[in-house]
Symmetry: C2
Subunit: 211 residues, 2 copies
DNA sequence: AGCGTAGGCGTAGGGCGTACGCTGTCAAGT
DNA sequence: ACTTGACAGCGTACGCCCTACGCCTACGCT
């Protein structure tokens, strides 16, 4: 009986993402999204609970493009790395939304499915009980931190230049590290850091004596 | 000759932190800080470049309480863990500022000194060249991610409850992990995840064959 | 005592989110 | 074919936010 709806939530999500990609996260506002769609500001409130809801929508919209199926059979390290890389690539395609991801992580069905898949891979690798949970959380923490590091202060960016310019007397190690860091690509850094974690997991799976 | 200044930047930082701790990060505004000090809004601009500057000030104010001296001699794993724990405790005392830390990390002298100390510990442990830089970045990434995980979705929080309530058919591993996770304290989770990373570093220091 | 500097602040303009209530439209029921 | 009423869309308005600009005045120095 009522008048039919003219928008959909995914449509709103897409418009919001367009705004964020084009004008930056700080430009994300109800007004901007409404203008992007060609609708009045208040019309959005029929589809969305408010600003927070739109932010969650953007995160899920970015994530929804990601493959969450189990990676092909092979060594478990490669399978874990493949899953991790999918997140890095998915999020890296929309750097402006990175600050939103930690907050809305829980509300994204895609990320829940990803976690489910990761737990399956870890289970196949022989991780059980506590160790499996810790492994998931450890990998998740690394991903979140590393992605933020990469986009908020990459090794080959202005921050590193500033570090290389520190007074050598007071910061001898930092100065040296700064010059060295410039030669490391973001991807290499990410991958080698992940390898550290995988090494750690490996020692546990093979029979670490603690943890 | 001129009229003397009546405020100091640290004073502004302290007032801003008071506001954030009491009313939350979203309540941080020029007006709120000015009112906290007992000064008009615009008076703040004599001491601060604007909103961004205040946020950086808050981060550094929180960090400045942290000890950045080298930890006592001992096994390098313990020394690294001690440094890491200092950050967790320092930041954990003011959870509301956590979202700010990744962005303003570079501008904090205290964090630069902390990094310098960490590089020194890693050097003492035998890490040289690339490996030392990668180790620092890996540990930093883990800290950032783990702290956000802890405060934005702890293992024993509502997020985990929601996970445990997922349909078991579709999310068998998550359901199991959710119930198990509730028994793991935030500190244990943090520590065991860090141990994974330290294990990985260990295998490298002892003579890993790759990386 | 007088002066020049610069600190403190008032005003105002352009953003923002969103509560509230009106209007117009469409589909169902007669 | 016409009435009807539920609800999508929107206009208005309020109360926040940041901050550019310029005035006034308290102060330390001469």
């Amino acid at each position: 009986m009522p008048r039919p709806r003219s928008l959909t939530r995914p449509q709103v999500a897409a418009a919001a993402l367009t705004v964020v990609d084009r004008d930056g996260l700080s430009a994300l506002s109800m007004r901007a999204v409404a203008k992007e769609i060609g609708v009045s500001t208040m019309a959005l409130y029929r589809y969305v609970d408010g600003r927070d809801d739109i932010e969650g929508l953007v995160v899920e919209h970015v994530m929804s493009g990601m493959d969450t199926s189990p990676p092909p059979d092979g060594p478990w390290r490669d399978r874990v790395a493949a899953l991790v890389e999918r997140i890095r690539l998915t999020v890296g395609a929309h750097p402006e939304v990175i600050p939103l991801t930690p907050v809305y992580r829980h509300r994204s069905p895609t990320l829940l499915r990803w976690s489910e898949t990761m737990l399956g891979v870890l289970a196949d690798a022989g991780f059980g009980g506590d160790a499996r949970v810790i492994a998931l959380r450890g990998v998740t923490a690394y991903i979140i931190g590393a992605i933020q590091l990469e986009h908020l202060g990459p090794l080959s960016g202005p921050g590193t230049d500033a570090i290389a310019a520190l007074p050598q007397e007071e910061f001898p190690h930092m100065s040296a590290a700064g010059s060295m860091a410039r030669a490391i690509s973001a991807h290499e850094e990410f991958r080698r850091g992940l390898d550290l974690l995988l090494n750690g997991l490996d020692s546990r799976a093979v029979g670490g004596d603690e943890l």
